[in-house]
Symmetry: C2
Subunit: 126 residues, 2 copies
DNA sequence: TCATCTGTATCATGTATATAATACAATTAT
DNA sequence: ATAATTGTATTATATACATGATACAGATGA
């Protein structure tokens, strides 16, 4: 479990983003246990309070569920999970299109560039 | 001159992003005068110090140039301008690909979705 | 049983950001 | 000439975030 934090965004948001990504990709399955606050804080070298903040927000967004004194678990609600994926894709496309807009370039010109960049990325992933 | 600020990112960064976008799109031309710190602060309803911070950073990045007691002007250095555009496109593609990665979707499936979204956006632009 | 783990909560401190209130020298416009 | 505008600079205050140090009740494992 490794996360490379940037210095700009709040850490608790980056932690949330990290877990959302794991859920979206299917690497974290519905019902699966989350690492404990203290354990994750230790692994990521951050403060337990910061992890708690991230978990609290995910709890509010119904992405995880916690019973008293028990480890948190990924939600099994298919509606929540489906919506997460839809929002993820929608967000990615909106951001991309908005960024591209000011450049004088068409989608047709863009596709080969994207293909190229996706290939080189595959290698990096290992 | 209108900017819709989000509450998450520092305002001075959003101001910088706003002007970079104008330069990349060609709406702001090399050598053109920037609005004065006070005037822009008034229009955007933000503090002059925040504008000053944004301008200072853009000056450091050589995007604008300021002579003493004169309005700042967009750089005319073609190298700086070209690099800005290249970085802008590279950044957009990298962010997009990274966001798409966890989703199980190919570029072929994506292109029609992007086309659709770009159309609806054109309308919104006015 | 008892030590250890769980989630939850509070308080103090430091840093980055945004705002507000000024100030000053040099240029520009009237 | 002189009033207004330019960029630049400083100081103080408020807020969000991250950290550190604790604390407590309930569940778990040896």
């Amino acid at each position: 479990m490794t996360v490379s934090f940037n210095k700009r965004d709040p850490i608790y948001l980056q932690v949330m983003h990290y877990f959302k990504r794991l859920i979206v990709s299917g690497e974290l399955l519905p019902g699966e246990e989350m690492p404990s606050r203290r354990q994750l804080a230790n692994e990521l070298k951050i403060n337990p309070n910061t992890v708690q903040r991230a978990y609290s927000e995910m709890e509010e967004q119904r992405l995880i569920h916690t019973e008293p004194n028990r480890p948190s678990r990924i939600t099994e609600d298919p509606v929540v999970l489906e919506q997460l994926k839809n929002e993820w894709l929608k967000q990615a496309m909106t951001t991309f299109i908005s960024a591209i807009q000011p450049l004088d370039i068409s989608l047709n010109e863009l596709v080969p560039l994207l293909e190229e960049k996706m290939k080189t990325r595959k290698k990096d992933d290992k």
